[in-house]
């Protein structure tokens, strides 16, 4: 079992009221539990044939989403991938809205028009989830360019996987952001696999994101992506840099997905024991242990667990009871006039 001593990023002797502090720690824990419970529920609902289409879970990767969301301010923008439920929930989007979209009900975030791969909630700063590998890195640059042009202080954060570092848009965006000194943070969640192929088999460097940073004049940053504190701290550094007008950061977070790539994937390609080893370093387990070591009462932790479980249970019931989307939305919002007319 992992202990606090394993976590090199926590300074020895630091207590609950160190640089992170109790309130933020409880928030980071709660966020991770929300992601875990909601995604575990999504998986269960899939087995009941209630989640339609596809879904890509971030089970095991919660610390990255929680750590970054915890460091964001209102107005900061998230750009996610198809594996975006966690990042969407971490910005405070209600569980019911996310599960509703996965279940393709009328109460879903986009009323079933987007689906699990395209979660978007502009009011929460979630500027979309993109399912074409790499597409959103340049888009995040554009949002950051707007902030720079307008003198706004918000930062755009773009999450993507290890496999994404081998597509052209990654390299175009990194160079573009560096040359224009844009307030954007690129976050690579290195979960060791693309869909089914290990990233190491198809990449010329060991760290697919960090080892490319030098090409764009950026610092090489690799962080323990299963430790929400470590992620939170590095995120804060990157936000401070971006807000100060000092340009982009590229951060590679080492993590692991507990589930398959998508709902249909049994993940048979993993070497024996790999999943079990990573589960010993389950981000939620690590964090729960840390809270206990810092003296947080077991009842407080249980209280959070129960509160979140109830939210997810209630959301599940609400989604099951929700109607299907109506047919009249099929042709809405193709164009800005609200409709779909392409001719007179």
């Amino acid at each position: 079992m992992a202990t606090i001593k394993d976590r090199a990023s926590v300074p020895a002797g630091s207590g609950l009221n160190d640089d992170i502090g109790e309130a933020k720690r409880l928030e980071l824990y709660r966020t991770q539990v929300v992601l875990r419970e909601a995604e575990q529920r999504a998986y269960d609902l899939f087995l009941q044939n209630l989640v339609k289409g596809t879904s890509h879970l971030s089970l095991g990767q919660e610390a990255v989403a929680a750590g970054f969301a915890g460091a964001m301010q209102k107005g900061d923008l998230s750009f996610c991938t198809y594996r975006g439920h966690a990042h969407t929930l971490a910005r405070g989007v209600p569980v019911e809205k996310v599960l509703g979209e996965l279940m393709q009900r009328d109460n879903g975030l986009m009323r079933g028009k987007g689906g699990s791969m395209h979660l978007t909630s502009v009011e929460h700063g979630v500027m979309g989830s993109y399912a074409i590998i790499g597409a959103h890195l340049p888009i995040a640059c554009g949002a950051a360019w707007r902030a720079q042009y307008k003198g706004a202080k918000d930062v755009s954060v773009c999450f993507f996987g290890d496999g994404t570092t081998n597509i052209g848009a990654f390299h175009e965006a990194l160079n573009f952001a560096a040359v224009w000194k844009l307030p954007v943070i690129f976050v690579c969640e290195n979960n060791l696999y693309m869909e089914y192929t290990p990233i190491s088999e198809v990449t010329a460097v060991e760290h697919p994101a960090a080892d490319r940073a030098a090409s764009y004049g950026l610092e090489r940053i690799v962080v323990d992506g299963n430790d929400a504190d470590a992620v939170y701290r590095i995120a804060q550094t990157a936000f401070t840099k971006a807000r100060a007008g000092k340009g982009p950061s590229l951060i590679e977070c080492m993590t692991y997905r507990h589930s398959g790539h998508s709902r249909a994937d049994p993940a048979k390609y993993r070497p024996e024991g790999e999943l079990e080893r990573w589960k010993l370093r389950d981000p939620i387990k690590i964090y729960r242990e840390r809270l206990l070591q810092f003296g947080v009462a077991e009842t407080v932790i249980k209280g959070i667990d129960n509160e979140v479980r109830k939210i997810v249970d209630d959301a599940t019931e609400a989604c099951k009871a929700a109607p299907n989307p109506p047919f009249d939305i099929i042709t809405t919002d193709v164009y800005a006039d609200g409709g779909w007319a392409w001719r007179n």
Partner: protein
């Protein structure tokens, strides 16, 4: 009133909109300090400064993505893709990103941007720098697609495109940059989705776009003078939205339809217009609709070869004359 080249009309159109709205910004390769490879953006950098007129790396995906991210969050970007053939290296944005973000987000995300591009043949550049690609864009729900044929339309339609809340692909024809036309003084704002009848006629309707418009007009003069055939010439101008009413109204009057398309034959925009007319005005027709297109080939580079594959006034005259049996 002043005589202006199509190229200078682009500059004036962009300047008009940048002057009006500080949220209009412009980016592309070699567009700022160098004034663009077609010299269609000369002086904008000097006039509007380095924050609003920006040179980019040779990164078409970054250009497109940056335009989209800026548009989603409140700016009104104009991006240049130097040659429209290069759409193929950033087609994800044209096909998957710009046109789908509003729909997929159930109306939460907007994408008010303009992509300007040098389109079309006539420069003897060969198969990768000469294509007419408006059809590539026309087939995608959520986009608007415009292709002006004259300086005044360049300004008016560019202004309409910048002010439009949807993503607009703005195809400038490379072989028209040096052509001239009368342009009124003051602000010019046109309307997307409107075709223009440039020459009224009673015997046949000819729909054309961009470089094919002056060729159709030239053919119409010959047809009238040499064969007594009176053609109505419609500049389609906007493929999406498409002004079908102007076309259907014209066919109801002339009873014949011809399209003149620079694109290779398959899936050209003219096919869509022919299909609409066949569906909705079949009994107005006195003969089969006829498409005059470039053959279904990559474009050859040599001048004499390129000249014979594009529809010419001569080919338009012959086709119309034969079809009308005179």
């Amino acid at each position: 009133m002043a005589e202006l080249t199509y190229r200078d009309a682009v500059i004036r159109g962009i300047a008009q909109e940048m002057t009006r709205d500080p949220d209009v910004v412009f980016l592309g390769e070699d567009v700022a300090k160098a004034g663009g490879v077609f010299k269609a953006t000369v002086g904008l950098y000097e006039q509007f400064g380095p924050l609003r007129v920006r040179d980019t790396p040779i990164s078409e995906q970054a250009i497109m993505g940056a335009a989209m991210g800026a548009a989603m969050t409140g700016l009104k970007p104009i991006a240049e893709i130097m040659f429209s053939d290069f759409f193929a290296v950033c087609f994800d944005y044209i096909a998957n990103e710009f046109p789908k973000s509003r729909y997929m987000s159930n109306g939460q995300v907007k994408c008010p941007l303009v992509i300007r591009t040098g389109n079309g043949a006539g420069s003897r550049f060969g198969a990768q720098h000469s294509q007419s690609v408006e059809n590539w864009c026309m087939m995608i729900p959520g986009l608007k697609v415009v292709a002006p044929s004259s300086p005044v339309d360049v300004i008016g339609l560019l202004a309409a495109a910048v002010r439009d809340p949807d993503p607009v692909i703005f195809c400038e024809h490379k072989s028209l940059y040096a052509t001239k036309g009368e342009v009124p003084d003051g602000e010019i704002v046109d309307q997307l989705g409107t075709a223009k009848i440039l020459r009224p006629g009673k015997d046949a309707t000819i729909v054309a776009l961009a470089l094919m418009v002056p060729r159709a007009l030239e053919a119409a003069e010959k047809l009238k003078a040499e064969h007594g055939i009176d053609c109505e010439i419609i500049d389609v101008r906007s493929l999406v939205p498409l002004d079908t009413q102007t076309i259907l109204g014209s066919v109801a009057k002339t009873h014949r339809l011809f399209s003149v398309e620079e694109n290779p034959r398959l899936c050209g925009w003219g096919a869509e217009i022919v299909s609409i007319v066949a569906d909705e005005a079949f009994y107005d027709l006195d003969g089969p609709p006829v498409r005059i297109t470039t053959p279904h080939i990559p474009l050859p580079a040599a001048d004499i070869l390129e000249d014979v594959v594009l529809p010419t006034p001569g080919r338009i005259v012959d086709t119309v004359r034969r079809s009308l049996g005179s």
